[in-house]
Symmetry: C2
Subunit: 323 residues, 2 copies
């Protein structure tokens, strides 16, 4: 009977006595509401999909945790999916979201220039919040600030006396990669230094690439005296390369990492990093999405969140004989 539904929905159009009776019965019968049936009737699943490039990345986990907390308080369940940086898997995820009729999506693309992904994304029916990507899609976006922090930390290295500073970061196909290169160039330009293009790497966002690129650079006859790693994986790779070459940090080479507080804490010495508050990113994205799922209309909203440079022991003056 419809009354059961009224009890479940906690409406107040049911007498206390009846409510009690129904609740009693639900317990003894082990009644569990059938979400599929509810979904068919209401067209809402109370599921929000979160698409991430990579789950091994602690940065994204902080974000996911924060988003889950906020969405959970509104009765939503978070569905976590990792694309492994594969556009094919990104499209598969969107397919999944359509079929299961998810109520909303938070999406971090692995390549914002990929046409088919962007097209599939723009065809979605549910509200979407994008993470840190420039696309023509009409959707809310949470941007992280990269250029300015990169400019600051590069300037800091220059001030310490570094002249050959390497930057290894994500491809230019995603905004963070582009922005970081921009900030880096700006700092060098401001200092009146020429830019050695061979000291900039932005081919892949993997630990392997960070490793091999850093290795190649640091083995040159005239190696860089500092290496800036943009992004978690590359950071790992750069650290491995430094160790492989038995380079002391910061004695032989200064290193700047990104995001990964856990790793940068455990490595000797503690690493200077560019950090951002991923919980804030998660909270912001979830909040924007909840509003949209509640039917709030209006133009797409763009939020910009700051990054922070945390100076620690991995950056110091270069050895005079290396400069």
């Amino acid at each position: 009977m419809g009354t059961v539904s009224r009890v479940a929905a906690k409406l107040n159009t049911v007498s206390p006595e009846t409510r009690h009776r129904v609740e009693q019965a639900m317990r003894t019968l082990g009644y569990v509401p059938n979400i599929a049936a509810r979904t068919m009737r209401t067209n809402r699943t109370k599921i929000v999909g979160l698409l991430l490039p990579d789950l091994a990345n602690t940065v994204f986990l902080l974000l996911a945790k924060a988003a889950e907390r906020l969405l959970g308080s509104e009765g939503y369940t978070l569905f976590l999916y990792s694309s492994e940086r594969s556009p094919t898997r990104e499209i598969e995820f969107l397919e999944l979201a359509s079929r299961y009729r998810m109520d909303g999506l938070i999406v971090s693309l692995s390549d914002e220039t990929n046409q088919s992904v962007v097209e599939a994304l723009s065809k979605m029916e549910c509200p979407i919040v994008l993470l840190d990507r420039d696309t023509p899609i009409r959707a809310d976006v949470v941007f992280s600030e990269h250029a300015e922090a990169m400019q600051r930390v590069t300037a800091h290295l220059i001030e310490l006396g570094h002249r050959r500073i390497a930057l290894i970061t994500a491809p230019l196909g995603i905004r963070p990669g582009r922005e970081r290169v921009l900030g880096y160039r700006a700092a060098l330009r401001d200092a009146g230094l020429s830019i050695d293009e061979t000291l900039i790497g932005h081919d892949y966002q993997t630990s392997k690439y960070g490793f091999s690129k850093a290795l190649e650079m640091l083995r040159r006859p005239v190696p860089p005296t500092a290496v800036i790693a943009g992004g978690d994986e590359i950071f790992y790779g750069v650290l491995r390369a430094a160790r492989q070459l038995n380079l002391a940090i910061p004695g032989d080479v200064s290193i700047v990492g990104a995001d990964n507080r856990m790793l940068s804490d455990v490595v000797t010495p503690m690493i200077t990093i560019i950090d951002r508050d991923m919980e804030q990113v998660g909270d912001t994205a979830a909040d924007m999405l909840i509003r949209r799922m509640n039917g709030q209309g209006g133009e797409p909203v763009h939020v910009h969140l700051p990054s922070e440079v945390i100076l620690r022991n991995s950056t110091a003056k270069p050895r005079p004989d290396l400069v």
Copy 2:
């Protein structure tokens, strides 16, 4: 009409011509099947839930990836959930699984002695595969071997000349904690060494605990010459403690880690670890679950998978003055 369903289900009771017509129409109308409706009719969601204690743990991610691959090939979607080692969240997950009518579950409990979790688990209707836990629940289980590998690595340290070997591992409320302590004790016993209970820690499975416990032990007037970390987080903590005290590895203290290949690769020096093939664990669990979901009956199956000791540079003879 029912024919559409026949086309979607790829049954061969439909003429090629009609099939083509229907597929054409589906494309032009942008038809996406409604899983909720299908679920209501068939009582299957094609969703498998994976409950993990922690997503930051790379060990579990390898497992999840492997399971997802195998389940995906059978048309299942993996729903990932982290309990954050909270029994409350574990029960919430089971609630979720019931409401959404998931087809099967793979579950790693944070405390197998928790009555309400075990009870909730035993009330579930769908097939369940447990990961490495001893419970009275009638379900398939994938066990990892811990005791024997721990015994081997402890014996190795004894052979190198260590006499005060610390073990910091997971609580005895989960099988890996118990088994590791067993193996450790067995090795000491076999060598005829007495066991210093103050060198065994098994209170929490957190980085913080590993850090503070290792710090306390290593600061003693007569500190251990080797520390074995059982589990990922504790491993992190032990490394941080060693760094904080400026202890050289393995000069001042030998260290044995667990599971985390990524971390043990990047830290100087490379760390001796107890390792296991988590992809195999994931594959095995997924395979067992798929069989059950296909209706295969029979007694619960228990599978035991091996662990491996990988000797690297973090274990060496203790300094003579320390022994």
